[in-house]
């Protein structure tokens, strides 16, 4: 188990898809609207070595109530500028596409967090700040301090992609299934 702390350095480059890790330190939430706003107006936090969490949390009275990951694939076409500016980790669920995999090569990783585990995540989080609050609770950029959030490397800096490997295998098994059942 590798324990990562933000800001992330070159240590993320040695990780391989499938490795279990924990992540501590500051991360920033961003969903579709925040990505669009950041492309237009710039990134409000220091992107160097940063981790961006695809998440629309429930926040109340300065506390994170629930903060599970959202589907990362929605941000496939909105991500490269973050990596260009120094972001080293994306956190979310479901994986991302080939363009992101290529963009990660040599500079960052995609970390998968278990979908729906909003209370577990919240139990490891402290709220540290917010930008773009006018976008609404789910779409704002929240600064969050993490304490050892358990994650798995979904895509590594060497082109490794666990989601894609599983998908390929599932397609092969589907063909077998159809043959066996006469579907």
């Amino acid at each position: 188990m590798t324990d990562l702390v933000t800001p992330l350095g070159d240590d993320v480059l040695s990780l391989r898809a499938g490795d279990p890790v924990t992540l501590s330190g500051r991360v920033y939430t961003a969903r579709d609207e925040a990505h669009l706003r950041m492309q237009e107006e710039g990134i409000p936090f220091d992107p160097e070595g940063a981790a961006v969490y695809h998440c629309g949390p429930i926040v109340r009275d300065g506390r994170i109530i629930a903060a599970g990951p959202t589907t990362s694939a929605r941000m496939n076409t909105l991500t490269e500028f973050l990596l260009d500016s120094g972001v080293r980790a994306l956190i979310g669920k479901g994986g991302m596409d080939e363009t992101v995999r290529r963009a990660l090569a040599g500079r960052g990783v995609y970390l998968a967090f278990t979908g729906g585990c909003a209370a577990l995540a919240a139990s490891r989080m402290t709220l540290a700040g917010v930008w773009f609050e006018d976008l609404g609770m789910a779409e704002a950029v929240w600064a969050i301090d993490l304490d050892r959030l358990p994650l798995v490397v979904g895509m590594d800096a060497h082109g490794g992609d666990l989601f894609d490997d599983v998908k390929l295998q599932a397609h092969r098994r589907f063909e077998t299934l159809c043959r066996e059942h006469g579907w």
Binding site: P20, I58, G116, L120, M137, L162, H181, W183
Partner: protein, 279 residues
């Protein structure tokens, strides 16, 4: 004459709706818990086992902190059961909506309901056609809630198959999961509606999700085994556990038709029922 909002029935329905939503959002039903615990015990893939352990830890945290299991608290789908002699009125619908508004503020729930085109958020999980209320006959007046998240709803599928394709329903169901991959937060429960009409099949698929998951017919088990053999695993990271259960509901249909709907449900198969007790 009192305002309709003040009738004992209105208050009782609103309270039952709010209470059922609180229960559903914070605590998973026992049958789902049993299936998840079983999966965590039997899973052979280490990554999948870690995912299932996260899920179980999350459920404990949600209970301990008295917060929703998932930040996507879904859109409210409501099944209102009325006994013989009790007629459905718009007043009851208003009461259900009142319960949803109250639950949204109190639990709190994420306000997820928006205008489909302007995407403007209504702020209270109510709106045109929301909450979706399905009225059914039953022995007593009760409210069942099924908060439905978008990740799994979005990969649900309906197909108008040919009657000659009845032996290939399994292909359609498995293909739905193949296309969905990790997106719907597996391990999933699949609600399958077979027959009825275009809209009826979808309603059957959703109602299938209300049935207990720790019992399956041979047909359901066969579909479940087929899904699990794909190896998609929890969150699409690989493993033995892709589906916790497949539940099927059938309706008769036109002789020229074979509608099949698959309503995909994430592992957080949230549902709860409260009796409506009018003092």
């Amino acid at each position: 004459m009192s305002h309709p909002e003040q009738t004992p029935l209105y208050s009782a329905i609103a309270e039952a709706t709010q209470s059922a939503l609180r229960k559903a959002e914070i605590e998973l039903p026992r049958d789902i818990m049993r299936r998840l615990a079983h999966a965590a015990r039997t899973e052979t893939n280490p990554t999948a086992r870690a995912e299932l352990e996260n899920i179980l830890a999350n459920i404990s945290e949600a209970a301990a902190r008295n917060v929703p299991i998932c930040q996507d608290t879904g859109v409210p789908v409501i099944y209102l059961t009325l006994p013989e002699g009790m007629a459905y009125t718009s007043h009851m619908g208003d009461a259900v909506a009142e319960g949803v508004r109250a639950a949204t503020a109190a639990i709190p729930l994420r306000p997820n309901v928006v205008d489909p085109l302007s995407r403007a958020n209504t702020g209270n999980n109510c709106g045109r056609g929301m909450p979706a209320i399905h009225v059914r006959h039953g022995d007593a007046c009760d409210v069942t809630v099924l908060p439905k998240g978008a990740g799994s709803e979005n990969v649900s599928r309906i197909g108008m198959l040919l009657p000659s394709e009845k032996d290939a329903i399994g292909r359609f169901v498995a293909e739905t999961m193949l296309r969905a991959g990790g997106k719907p937060c597996p391990p999933v429960v699949l609600g399958v509606g077979i027959g009825s009409t275009f809209d009826g099949a979808a309603a059957l698929a959703k109602e299938a999700l209300l049935q207990p998951v720790d019992e399956m017919t041979d047909y359901e088990q066969e579909l479940c085994d087929a899904i699990n053999s794909l190896g998609i695993g929890p969150m699409g990271l690989g493993g033995d556990t892709t589906a916790l259960a497949v539940k099927v509901r059938r309706g008769d249909c036109h002789t020229a038709s074979l509608p099949v709907a698959v309503n995909v449900q994430c592992w957080a198969c949230r549902r709860a029922t409260e009796k409506v007790i009018v003092p």
